[in-house]
């Protein structure tokens, strides 16, 4: 990546800059400013979901549903093919005088396999896109960060962002009304 690696005076690698806000409205409007400044690697941390935050952050819709749809339909089709091969070709067994390969009998398992693999894709895809699981997150080293599960709202802009600059990014967060602005070490 083209982005620079910043280090602190003690030689630690900088993960990003974090700023605190007191109210959902403050953090919402600050997020709009960060979005408009063109940052992409950043996040907002809040004790509860804030409606409309995805617009304020300019987050694009996930492509996960498309992936789930494709995988689900593919696996349903493979499930059908599997039954057709097993019951119709490989190991023919007369059941209730029905033909060997009967689409009717294959529907429930085809359906279930479609659902099962859609669910797997949904959960694994969600974890993948959220980069989970992680052993730890640099923000958790900050004591003040624990308050985002209580009464504080935080924005963290990562040093890996191509727009990141220690002074300008700090100034942006200050201008947006951020308090207790601090560097986060990797």
């Amino acid at each position: 990546m083209s982005s620079k690696v910043y280090t602190t005076e003690s030689g630690e690698v900088v993960y990003g800059i974090v700023a605190e806000f007191d109210t959902p409205a403050d953090v919402y409007h600050a997020a709009e400013q960060v979005r408009d400044a063109g940052y992409s690697k950043w996040d907002v941390h809040t004790p509860f979901p804030i409606h409309g935050m995805e617009d304020a952050m300019g987050v694009k819709r996930t492509i996960l549903p498309m992936i789930i749809g494709v995988v689900g339909l593919t696996c349903a089709g493979l499930g059908f093919l599997m039954q057709w091969w097993m019951n119709g070709v490989d190991y023919q067994l007369t059941v209730q005088g029905k033909p060997f390969a009967t689409w009717q009998a294959f529907v429930p398992i085809t359906f279930e396999l479609g659902i099962l693999f859609s669910a797997f894709t949904a959960i694994i895809g969600m974890l993948f896109f959220n980069r989970l699981p992680q052993w730890y997150h640099p923000l958790l080293k900050k004591d003040r960060f624990l308050r985002v599960s209580d009464d504080r709202f935080m924005i963290c802009i990562e040093a890996g962002d191509s727009n990141f600059d220690p002074d300008r990014t700090r100034a942006l967060l200050e201008g947006a009304g951020g308090k207790h602005i601090d560097l986060v070490e990797e």
């Binding site: 409606h51 409309g52 209730q96 005088g97 009717q104």
Partner: protein, 423 residues
């Protein structure tokens, strides 16, 4: 957000909200006259076609009329179900257009009365449609076992009972809603919920039995415990489609702006989509169990629908009622755009008509090996369906234009006006 005063009077968001300004939620006097004339013209024309058809092939005309009448009844039953369920679960997002559901619901007893001409004509033809009433079925051993339930007296009494019951439930719920328009008493919402609590059980049972009596009994040897659900699934599906169509037309007429938005269409589209899937799920389940067990009385139902061109009609039902809308309506944009979702609403009503056609009509011509579908007189079916739906459309437009488009004192209007899908 709505405010409720200590006196129990709901002031809601009232006329303060720009979307609820009077010009936005009421029709000008004489509005919809053109549409009304078009519908009643279609209705009279269609029914005239049925009358001509009656002299060409009376049994065919009777069955065609039945397809149309059942379609109209299922539309109103679907709307009734949704009013009950919305009342019961305190649904807020529907508040701005709940009145439209109630309008369609209130037509249920009137439309159900169209069963009377069907019964009379069937009686005149000696049980041509409800074959268990015909002299040919007399003495049939299966019918004799069922005679305690399937006898004309009990059958007509049951039908009358359903219609009276529906008239009571729908008029009670509508009266409570209109009273709230006048008085603004928010407790009427709670009262409607209490009524809905018992009414939904009664409606579920009576609608299932109406499905047994009016559709399943046509083939009196056939029975399916899934039939009530099949009837309900079709009703909920076509009821949702009708609602989307009404709202899309109102939006087109420049009304309900800000009161019914893409967000509402999105959720109605989700309902339409879910009932496409639900219908397919239970329709297949019904077929699957019958196919697996292979009991002759049951398989005969599907066997007679494999004759001649009937499999084509069956395939049309599967594709139009499930496969195609399922794939296309998966996409978010389709559901959020009033035009595309209105297209699928019309599509769904047509799919439901084909489904009812597939259920009712085989009984007429299936014995005729040359043309088991009766393509030669398909114009009678077209006339009957368009005729009855024309009458229903005329009634609906009359109801919609008769008062405010929004239940103006509904305590949950704020919730509906602020409604958003966050995903």
């Amino acid at each position: 957000m709505s405010q409720i005063s200590a006196a129990g009077q709901s002031h809601g968001v009232g006329a303060d909200h720009p979307a609820l300004r009077s010009s936005n939620i009421s029709m000008a006097p004489g509005a919809g006259t053109g549409l009304k004339s078009a519908f009643i013209g279609l209705g009279v024309l269609g029914l005239a076609v049925v009358a001509i058809g009656w002299f060409k092939d009376s049994t065919h005309a009777l069955a065609s009329l039945h397809v149309g009448v059942i379609t109209a009844i299922t539309i109103c039953l679907g709307a009734t179900f949704f009013v009950l369920i919305f009342n019961l679960v305190n649904a807020g997002w529907v508040s701005t257009f709940k009145r439209q559901y109630e309008n369609v619901m209130s037509l249920l007893p009137i439309v159900s009365l169209l069963m009377i001409p069907v019964f009379v004509l069937d009686y005149l033809k000696g049980g041509a449609l409800f074959t268990w009433m015909s002299s040919a079925a007399h003495g049939d051993v299966i019918l004799e076992k069922k005679a305690g339930f399937l006898n004309p007296m009990f059958f007509y009494a049951r039908s009358a009972f359903y219609i009276l019951l529906w008239a009571y439930i729908t008029s009670t719920l509508r009266r409570l809603s209109l009273e709230q328009d006048r008085t603004g008493d928010k407790w009427l919402t709670a009262k409607a919920r209490r009524t809905s609590a018992w009414a939904i059980l009664v409606m579920a049972l009576s609608a299932s039995f109406a499905g047994f009596d009016w559709l399943m009994s046509i083939d009196f040897k056939f029975f399916s415990t899934m039939w009530g659900v099949y009837f309900f699934a079709g009703s909920a599906y076509v009821g949702t489609a009708t609602m989307i169509l009404i709202l899309a037309l109102l939006r087109r007429a420049g009304k309900m702006e800000g009161a019914v938005t893409s967000e509402h269409f999105h959720d109605l589209g989700k309902l339409l989509f879910s009932f496409t899937v639900f219908w397919a799920y239970i329709a297949f389940s019904q077929y699957f169990l019958i196919w697996y067990s292979g009991i002759p009385e049951e398989t005969a139902f599907f066997e007679m629908r494999l004759k001649g061109a009937w499999p084509m009609v069956g395939a049309a039902v599967i594709i139009s009622h499930f496969a195609l809308p399922f794939v296309i309506m998966l996409f978010r944009g389709i559901k959020r755009n009033p035009t595309t979702i209105a297209f699928f609403a019309i599509w769904s009503i047509a799919a439901h008509v084909i489904d009812m056609f597939w259920v009712v009509r085989p009984v007429v011509h299936v014995a005729n090996a040359a043309d088991p579908v009766g393509w030669g007189m398909i114009w009678i079916d077209a006339g009957a369906v368009l005729g009855v739906l024309g009458v229903l459309g005329w009634l609906i437009v009359g109801k919609v234009t008769s008062g405010p488009l929004v239940a103006v004192n509904d305590p949950r209007l704020g919730e509906s006006l602020d409604h958003r899908n966050y995903v």
